[in-house]
Structures are given as C-alpha cells and as structure tokens.
Assembly symmetry: C2
Amino acid sequence: MSGSGLILFELAGADQALRFSPHCWKIRMALAHKDLSAEAVPWHFTEKSSIAFSGQECVPVLIDDGAPVSDSWRIAQHLEARFPDRPSLAGRNGDLAACAFVNQWADTALLPVLARLLAPDIPAVLPAKDQSYFRSSREARLGMTFETLRARRPEFLGDLKRVLTPLRATLRRQPFLAGSSPNYADYCVFGMFMWGHCVTDLDLLAPDDPAYAWRERMFDLFGGIARHAPTHHGLQARSPRD
Amino acid sequence: MSGSGLILFELAGADQALRFSPHCWKIRMALAHKDLSAEAVPWHFTEKSSIAFSGQECVPVLIDDGAPVSDSWRIAQHLEARFPDRPSLAGRNGDLAACAFVNQWADTALLPVLARLLAPDIPAVLPAKDQSYFRSSREARLGMTFETLRARRPEFLGDLKRVLTPLRATLRRQPFLAGSSPNYADYCVFGMFMWGHCVTDLDLLAPDDPAYAWRERMFDLFGGIARHAPTHHGLQARSPRD
C-alpha cells in the first residue's frame, strides 16, 4: 500500500479496533483494491458533531487533500476518478456505474433483512454512550423492540435465505459477482457479511451455500484484511477451519 | 444487421408475430446489440418435440452453424465468444460475467412476482392447443388458480413495487443499469417488462418511477424494435405519448 494522505472516518465499537459498518467495509475493500491506505479514524454513533464538517451525519467520510467526501458510493466514485492509474474498482476497463445495481440491491434488499437479524447484538459491542441511542433509533426504524427481533430470528433467517437467492445462483456458476476476479460489486455485498461477522455468532450462511465459499474467498483478499479484522470476540477472525 | 445463418426458436402467441417470452427478449436485444440478425422461428408451449434436438424443452434455442444452444444465459455467452469483434454485451471491454447477478435477480426475484401478475392474462394470447397446458402447469407452479391470482393483484402490485426498489434507486442516478449506455444487464430486466408489455394492460410502472423513463429509453433502442413489436392488442406498441 502507498501513503496517500487519505483519512477515513469509520464506525467503531467500544473496542476502537472493532470496525463493523457494512458501508465502511465497502470502502476498506475498495482502498485495498486500489492499493491505497488511509488513516482510519474511529467514530461512534453519538459523535455526529465530529463529522459535521462533511455536511451530514453518517460514516464513512473520506478526507482527501482536506476535502470531505461522504456516502460510500460517492467515495468509490471519487477514488475511481482521483486514482485512475490504480486498478479500477469496476475490474477490467469497465465502468463503476455497472456496479450500482448490486450496491443498491445490497442496501435496499439485503441490508433491511440483516438489520433485523443483527441489531439486537450490536449494543453489546458499543460504548456505553452509544447504546441507548442505537437501541431507540433502531427500534423506531425497524418498528420492533430488540426482544421481538430476537424472538423472530428463525423467521428472519428464512427471509435472508430467500433474499440471497440471486447471490447464490450467481456464485454457483462463477467465483465472484464480477466474474473471475472481484470488483466493487463484490465489496458491496461482502460489506454486509462483514457487518454480521463482526457483531454476531449467528450462522448467516450454511457451509454448502455457494455464497459461503465466496465469503471465504473474500476473507482472503488483500492479505486477509477481512479475515484478520477484530470481531466482537475481541479475537482474530475465525480461521477457515473453525 | 448482417445475415449470420443464426436461427432462433422463440415463444409465440396465437398470432405468430406476438413474441412475449422474457428470456427470448433478452436474446432479441442481445442480437440487436451485436448487430446480428437471426431467422426467428415461432414456437408454442406444447411443441416440446420440435426442440427436442436441443436436449431440453424451453426456448429460446439458438442454432448456430447447425449446433443448438439453449438457456438464454448460455446463448448470450455463446454470442459473446462467437462474435468477439461485435460490440460486447458487457459494454466497454468488460466481462459478461459481471451481468450475471442482474440476470439472476431478474429471474429469481422479479420474474416470480411478475408471473403472479401476468399469468392470468396469458391464455388469451395463446393458441387453443396451449391454453389448458399453460393454465394447469402455471396454477400448479404458482400454487393458486388464475381467479385467485387475479383477485390478489393489488397485493402483487405492491410486491412488484417493493421488489423493484434497487432498480428504481439505480435508475434515479444513471440512465441505464450499465451506466451511460445499456448492456446485457439492462436487456435481462427489460425482457421482463416486455413480457408484461406484450400480454397485459396492467400498469406495472408509474410514470414518475425512474424505471418508467428507463423502459422508454429501452423501447427506443435499435430503431425501436421493442416499441414496434406486436402486443396483445395486435397493434403496434404504444407511442411514448399514449
């Protein structure tokens, strides 16, 4: 990786090393794909004021040469335009726009299902100051208490299996969503699984699911940055044989 | 278009000119994208034996130089490999594999919702010999009578609106799924809408839906082959102002 002067604000847990946001993981993987490093700044849900300079309240926020860029999709577009000589996030000579649908599918079809499964486990990894904010805002957004969400997990796991149908069907025929090697489309979906990996022990994928083997391949990219990332166990991520 | 010796078996209605299969439309658009023409052979649901040479029972079936290729995805791969000097189905120098996820989403998330909406209108466009086969096979597959499907249409239109969320979100930001110009990913989803366009008057998209404007752009591609295709009205497709 090369120093680039980039700064990335990332959602962190009580353990500052725990970085569990799906959208931040999209950008972590995108930076690695482009062989760029960024100074990662931990950020917590209740620290809205510390990123007020970006004109909005969500991470990731990238600072490039003093200028903030927010929203993971706009950050990916920025990296692509700013570092055109680095490997393209779209893979072989393509257009990043061709990854937009997969990104939107991850955000609008997959994320809501995962949120119902993961939200109740998230307070346990947060600093005390974030816990009540997270619970009340997510219970309002999801329309259910965390107790109800937990009780309905078997149903939500069924929803997850259904929503993953196109992912499974694609990965049955090819190693990555982009084809023979991964691109930003893969990172958008993988970010969602890293969210789960970091905060819960729930089995989100059965070992015979083609998406399971794909996730293993994604864990191994770029020297295993995802596999070796801290999780809620405060431990290194599981080895492939665990 | 150039003569190529290609033959394409396509699903047809009682009016042989009515070609309404979503999967056949994927290939119609793919051939036009590559500036290829094929001799189109009309085929009906109950004519399984006439495509037995392909080793399976579904259209589209392409015959290229005497050899059959079935399954729309394999036909697209075949066209891409066989005519590498023609415009790539993946757009600018990309890999067709990068369109696989959108194709699978169209087939496994969108098609089942559309099937519940469209199936009851399809017997009216079929030749008499296909009608009872179609009704009994589809009622079994969908687990409901056509009368029930029709009665539940308001609910299924709600399902359609929900399942289209990632399409809508993508097309709000860019003109085609592939970016600034269409590729096979666009044809996979558009094929589903041509299915509806050919067999029903149901409003599948509201005029203020970004996917509506995209569908209009798709109608206009390649000299308007989709816009001018016969529909269940036995008329030219609607003009943009209808």
